[in-house]
Amino acid sequence: MRGYPPGVVLSTSRIGLVRIDPGATVVEIDGDHDLRSVARLRGEVERILDEGAAIVVDLELTTFVDSSMLAGLLDARRAAERRELGFAVNMPSDGAEAVQRVIEITGLGAALPIFETREEAVAAVRAERS
């Protein structure tokens, strides 16, 4: 059997982009993310907004975010607002506890438009556009 011994941590952290249509792009933030990922997040957000597209940040498969990533998310929302482009977050309520906790305890749940599913988040940014 091919495999790793128990306890080995597989680094599956990734930031992926899925272009839904010319007007909306999903940023998938999978795995653990901290200060190391923030520059990448900011860069992708900047690029998407430059294209004139709305942003959906997908936290469904996120297992960990630290405060610098939260700052990155909040800045992404502000940048989208400045350009009058849509911004939404998808985070299912049964997602990773570590992510739910920091968002709840920092009060960012109220500062970010959070939706249960990716479909709802995409629909929300599309509704903003029309």
């Binding site: 941590v9 901290d34 405060s67 700052a71 906790r101 920091v102």
Partner: protein, 268 residues
């Protein structure tokens, strides 16, 4: 070093924080910490390490040392750097929300921050193994809405501390100069005459200002201590009596011993 001690030292670089996070989470799992607590532990450890990465060394290389040990039903995690120490800095970048420390405060069972300019920073965080311990402990006594509650060593400190606190409350209550010195004298007298009458090593005093008067509650005194103190202060050599300085004197008794209740009004 006990079986659940762990020490990790590595360069203070952002990519190393995940190493500490996973190592500490692995230990937490091994000692049976509840999953919700492990989630919080990962956050507080990350924030403490990131603080060292971002603030400790000003681009210079330097270490982060993390130590974890079990203390009863909790893990105690200490994150130490050898950097510039805690420095007040204006928020010149928008890189952070300055949430690191508030997150540590909110998610840990308790935490301590220490350090000095040029001597590095130490963040010590305690996390209970189960979340049951998160409930705030019932305070032993009801919180005060006004006034002050002081605890101090029965010998030596009562006089110097009590007379200062009494004088502040007396000034606040617009005491006349005469009554102010009476109030201070009262504090000094209790400590001078009562040092051997206190029941415990620690003396508790509640000072409060009510309608221009000061109320003091001093104790616990040992059995008969209240009466003895009043008796001693009737001796003319000390310049009058407790009753002369205070407008009302009462001895209260309960299971813990005796307490002296005093009232001094601001005007003669």
């Amino acid at each position: 070093m006990s079986s659940s001690d762990l020490t990790i030292e590595l360069p203070a670089r952002a990519e190393n924080v995940a190493v500490v996070r996973h190592a500490v989470a692995g230990l937490a799992e091994a000692v049976g910490m509840a999953p919700g607590q492990i989630a919080d532990l990962k956050t507080v450890v990350t924030e403490a390490c990131m603080n060292a990465v971002v603030h400790a060394y000003d681009e210079e290389p330097g270490p982060i040392e993390t130590h974890v040990h079990r203390d009863g039903d909790a893990l105690v995690v200490t994150v130490r750097d050898r950097g510039a120490g805690i420095r007040p800095r204006p928020d010149t970048s928008r890189q952070s929300l300055r949430m690191g420390l508030p997150l540590i405060a909110a998610l840990s069972t308790s935490f301590e921050l220490s350090g000095a300019l040029g001597q590095g920073t130490v963040v010590m965080m305690r996390m209970n193994l189960s979340s049951n311990g998160d409930e705030p402990a019932e305070p032993a006594t009801a919180p005060l809405e006004h006034g002050a509650r002081l605890s101090m060593p029965a010998r030596g400190l009562v006089g110097p501390v009590l007379s200062r606190v009494v004088s502040i409350f007396a000034v606040r209550a617009n005491f006349s100069v005469d009554r102010l010195s009476d109030a201070i004298l009262l504090g000094d007298a209790i400590s001078a005459q009562g040092a051997d009458l206190f029941a415990d090593d620690t003396t508790h005093v509640v000072v409060d200002e009510v309608d221009g008067s000061l109320k003091l509650r001093v104790g616990p005194l040992r059995e008969g201590g209240g009466e003895t103190l009043l008796e001693r202060m009737r001796i003319p050599e000390i310049g009058g009596s407790l009753e002369g300085l205070a407008d009302a004197v009462e001895v209260e008794r309960d299971g813990d011993g005796e307490r002296l209740l005093l009232k001094v009004s601001g005007r003669a």
